[in-house]
């Protein structure tokens, strides 16, 4: 069995596609450098990322695929799942081996898998649009709306443009506690940031509630009581609620903090 190994960059993956055609070698799997070697591997090829090769594959890809398929591949890449490398690789090999547009051939397992994984990532992105909760914190006299998230896939980069447009007149920051990076918007531009003293500002993956102003607590409380009042008792259905709003988001959602606000 032949295995390609690459450095886990998107350029690296495109280089792998280039090399496969150059060498006429068709690996069964494409793995990152530090993945464990699978059983029965007889041959290994190390891909050295080459920006020129990657550029050529990228140009060809853009010429051959409609935007919707290109976006799907981007989303698959941001899933960060280990199987994404082989999946994107096989998809591109199939694309360049025929003259047709394969992106709508949903009877093909790889094409369908790309579409389905892209959908999952897109759903996770949508979850952020739904469940990001900003907390106003005072930082050296200025008000910053701060939120922490821990999405399943790396979707924060895919969603910040949405927040930038929507909340253009307030300073805000969203921090991914799982991947230890975030974005800060200072009314003009968006910056990629990391946190130095996060041990203090963050507590247990969420914002240290001691940092919040008294006013912020009041708004959370208002929101909690509003959502409680809106519930129709005759139709109570917690299972349905959890189905739409999975428990993993609840620690960021003040409307679910029964213990904090009920007394």
């Amino acid at each position: 069995m032949l295995v390609f190994r690459y450095d886990e960059t998107f350029e690296g993956l495109l280089t792998a596609v280039f090399d496969a055609f150059a060498l006429k070698k068709w690996p069964e799997q494409v793995l990152s450098r530090h993945d464990v070697v699978p059983l029965f591997t007889s041959e290994e090829y190390i891909v050295f990322t080459d920006d020129k090769k990657a550029e050529r594959v990228s140009t060809a890809m853009k010429k051959r695929l409609p935007n919707i398929a290109l976006n799907q591949l981007t989303y698959v890449w941001f899933s960060e799942l280990p199987e994404r490398s082989s999946l994107i690789f096989r998809y591109l090999i199939k694309l360049f081996k025929t003259k047709k547009d394969i992106s709508t051939n949903f009877a093909d397992p790889d094409v369908l898998a790309v579409k389905q994984l892209a959908k999952k990532v897109s759903n996770e992105r949508h979850y952020l649009m739904m469940f990001v909760r900003f907390n106003a914190i005072e930082n050296q006299g200025e008000k910053v709306y701060f939120a922490t998230v821990e999405p399943r896939y790396n979707v924060l980069p895919l969603v910040v443009a949405f927040f930038k447009d929507r909340f253009a007149d307030q300073k805000w920051a969203i921090f991914d506690t799982k991947r230890q990076f975030g974005y800060y918007f200072d009314l003009k531009q968006l910056d990629l940031v990391t946190l130095d003293e996060q041990a203090d500002l963050l507590f247990d993956g969420a914002i240290n509630q001691n940092y919040l102003s008294a006013e912020e607590r009041q708004f959370q409380k208002l929101w909690y009581h509003y959502c409680q009042a809106l519930t129709i008792k005759e139709r109570i259905n917690p299972k349905l609620q959890r189905q739409f709003m999975p428990k993993r988001f609840w620690k960021h959602l003040p409307e679910t903090w029964h213990k904090t606000f009920d007394n």
Binding site: K100, F106, D165, A168, Y226, C227, Q228, L230, M245
Partner: protein, 419 residues
Amino acid sequence: MKDSTIKKLEILAESAKYDVSCASSGTSRSNIKGGIGSAHGWGICHSFTGDGRCVALLKIMLTNFCLFDCAYCINRKSNDIPRAAFSPKELTELTIEFYRRNYIEGLFLSSGIIKNPDHTMERMLRVIKDLRTVHHFNGYIHMKTIPGASRELVYQAGLYADRLSVNLEIPTEANLKRLAPDKDHQSIYSPMRHIQQHLLENKEERKKYRHAPKFAAAGQSTQIIVGATDESDKQILELSSKLYKRPSMKRVYYSGFIPVNSYDKRLPVVQDVPRKRENRLYQADWLLRFYQFEVNEIVNDDYQELDLDMDPKLAWAIRNPQFFPVDINRASYEKILRVPGIGLKSAKLIVTARQHGRLNIDALKRIGVVLKRAQFFIICAGMRTFKMQEASADYIRLSLQEPIPLIETAQPQQLTMLL
């Protein structure tokens, strides 16, 4: 902020919660310079209450004082409940603060009727006008139109709101008169007509002047209470289908009757909210809007009520064996759409994928077709026989209808679509 604000918010949310609509969909736009907010085409839900309903908009009454005495309404004049009112300033500030925290997509403003319909509309208008002009709020606004409001005020409202709605509540006029003596169909249909006329005029105007202000870009919606009166599903669905024929009507919501005023003798005595029936009505509604069904195919003089044991599409298919089998590789999109077990998405995937080659049963499975249901109605490569010929309608019915719960008390929990 004081505890009194919390109290007020609770009272006015309690009063607003029986309005089903919470959609924030139907319009897409980016933020404006110096403004706050945007609108997202399919809408975004921000939370879900304990009953599993979506919270997208701050659904709230401006006041729950009301002159009217409608039997089905929690806010009726003769009810002894706590009453409250927001000032426009309080409500706009609350909306903005919630919005800044990403709690909501916008505001859904409703109100009890104080003094007269026009006076009420004017007060509501002030809130949404302030939001747009003082706070530069560019998020979603849904405003209820008060039955009997004047044409000019409806026009004003449409300039600031994305969606307007007037609730029909009771499908037939006779029953409406009986339960809501202050209302008649005229007072409901006339603002509906105003909204539609303004919308169509606005469309023409915008063709001439690109920057003419948009009027209620997301159209209008309405709501019908199910189970408070004796209308059949046929009557309800015929009404909806008539409403959908109007170009501006985007959604008809069905609200299972909740006995909030059980003391009123004009209302039926019910044990539980008719969730199942409500769900079947929504399914039928989907068939009308997306699956290209005509209303008389779903309900007609022979079948006045929807089947509670199976969804209306399956029920239609079993009644109409002459349309089957459908050849997955050859039949038109419209025909494939009518197969039970194949939804909008799968139907689209099927017709695009089959251009690349014949589809077999495994491909269908991967695409997401529910073969358990579809198998009786399709032919495709890899399937041994067409089953409807060997299986009788009764057999299909029995094998596909929802299982009857073994214990009497285990009431099925029905999912409702409230996006």
